[in-house]
Symmetry: C2
Subunit: 257 residues, 2 copies
DNA sequence: TGCACATATCTTGCATACCAGTTGGCACAA
DNA sequence: TTGTGCCAACTGGTATGCAAGATATGTGCA
């Protein structure tokens, strides 16, 4: 059945946050139209909206691609998140305690995070870890900033994929728990500090290759590779190369399902 | 000659920031297409992007309109600006002094603001007063937040129009001067405080009508009205009513020129 | 064998045609 | 005169077709 533009864009954002769409992934209009059973018009509308939100780009007559943030953009994205999230926690501090219903919602979210950690659904795990921050912004009573933060979080997720983040999911979840705990006891200063350190941890887990050697990434990818583990073979392929990683056009869309 | 979608959307945003497009203004696809000499497709693309940025909305088969923020949205918008702008100033404080070129750019901007105050070009004045904040964010080194702030500033401009802001342009400009001065001497704490008070001033200049009576606005607008002043007659008409303020379809587009 | 050029194919850019819902006016009836 | 229902014009929603640029392919020549 046919799908609306907002659904399509939501699905794409989810796929990005779930690390199912790597930076540089091609998003062809025609394949998407077939997948969602609608015309190219609808797909274009969805992609146009995502472009306005900074999630995808279009290269004229070449195609639509998931963005590949530069190091500078990566820095800005983390700074932006820091500014918004810390500011949000701080500004809520003065207006009194956090809402009870909101707190419950946050705790439910934490439960889901923990559940996802036990299962091996990497996609859902990644999505929830990012969505926590959006959820937090919503609970602190600002949907405008929450929406903004969703885009920025998707962005940092892409950055993490691009720069091969080594950050630990378990650690992140624990951070989240502590942040919520601090908010619950009304200690906004602590919450702010915890959040600052949390974002700092995630950011510093990025592997920044020396910008002097543009071949470093390729060299790393094509190194002799002593077959680390036979069991690890069928693992998700991470498209760390700019984009020529193209699978055939009918396969890559699986990420959106 | 024909115009691109990005130009069109940029022009609309500018018109909003210059208070040339009031909240609720109709933005018909066909009239815009004729004005910019392009097809509806291009116009739709521009409007779609603006919708993603929260500047316009579309009511199915009724038309596109400049948003009319609710009181809640107004609160969120100001809070969002406070969070971002204060956070930006604060986070820049730790990384050392402000860049020299950036400072020059800010001062140039202040000059333009002063010039606009002397002239009676209300549109340019309003635009520059809002653009200052965008410019500041850019100068503090974060284009991502600057872009976000542009949307939020446009939003607060609309709010000011909708809630008949009484805020003083001269005062705002002086605030800006002081903020830049504080930044120049490296006193980020003062800059932050000044900015907080500045935004607070603008926000509190809004005239908030009692939300209990949905007819209050109408009643106010339709009151007997003892002709306050004959000289004030040809003043800019402020469309505080939802939208039926429609001038004929060829007139309202003048705001975009 | 290697390089350059022509060409075929793929992908988006844009305009237009047609469809469907909404609105406001007009005519008619009470 | 007032209220009601119909109709026509208007406005966006969606699909499609064609144009044009970019890329990949294949061929011929050096």
């Amino acid at each position: 059945m046919s799908t609306s533009a907002s659904e399509i864009s939501a699905r794409i954002v989810e796929a990005v946050m779930a690390q199912k769409l790597a930076p540089g992934s091609r998003l062809g209009e025609q394949p998407l139209a077939m997948l969602f059973d609608c015309s190219r018009t609808i797909v274009r509308e969805a992609l146009t909206r995502l472009a306005a939100r900074g999630i995808v780009t279009v290269s004229a007559r070449r195609g639509w691609f998931v963005i590949e943030p530069s190091q500078d953009e990566a820095r800005e994205a983390f700074e932006a998140r820091r500014v918004i999230e810390l500011g949000l926690i701080r500004s809520t501090g003065s207006t009194g305690k956090i809402d009870k219903a909101a707190l419950r919602q946050l705790k439910t979210h934490l439960q889901r995070e923990k559940a996802a950690l036990k299962e091996s659904d990497v996609g859902n795990r990644s999505f929830l870890l990012g969505d926590f921050h959006v959820c937090l912004a919503e609970c602190l009573g600002n949907t405008l900033l929450a929406d903004t933060l969703r885009d920025f979080t998707a962005r940092t997720t892409l950055i993490a994929m691009l720069y091969q983040s080594t950050h630990d999911a378990v650690q992140s979840c624990e951070d989240h728990v502590q942040i919520v705990a601090a908010l619950e006891r009304g200690d906004h200063a602590a919450a702010e500090a915890l959040m600052a350190s949390h974002i700092g941890t995630v950011q510093s887990a990025l592997r920044v290759q020396a910008p002097t050697d543009p071949l470093a990434q390729l060299r790393d990818a094509l190194a002799p590779l002593q077959q680390k583990s036979a069991a690890a073979r069928p693992a998700r392929r991470k498209a760390t190369t700019p984009s020529p990683d193209d699978t055939d056009s009918s396969t890559y869309l699986g990420a959106l399902l």
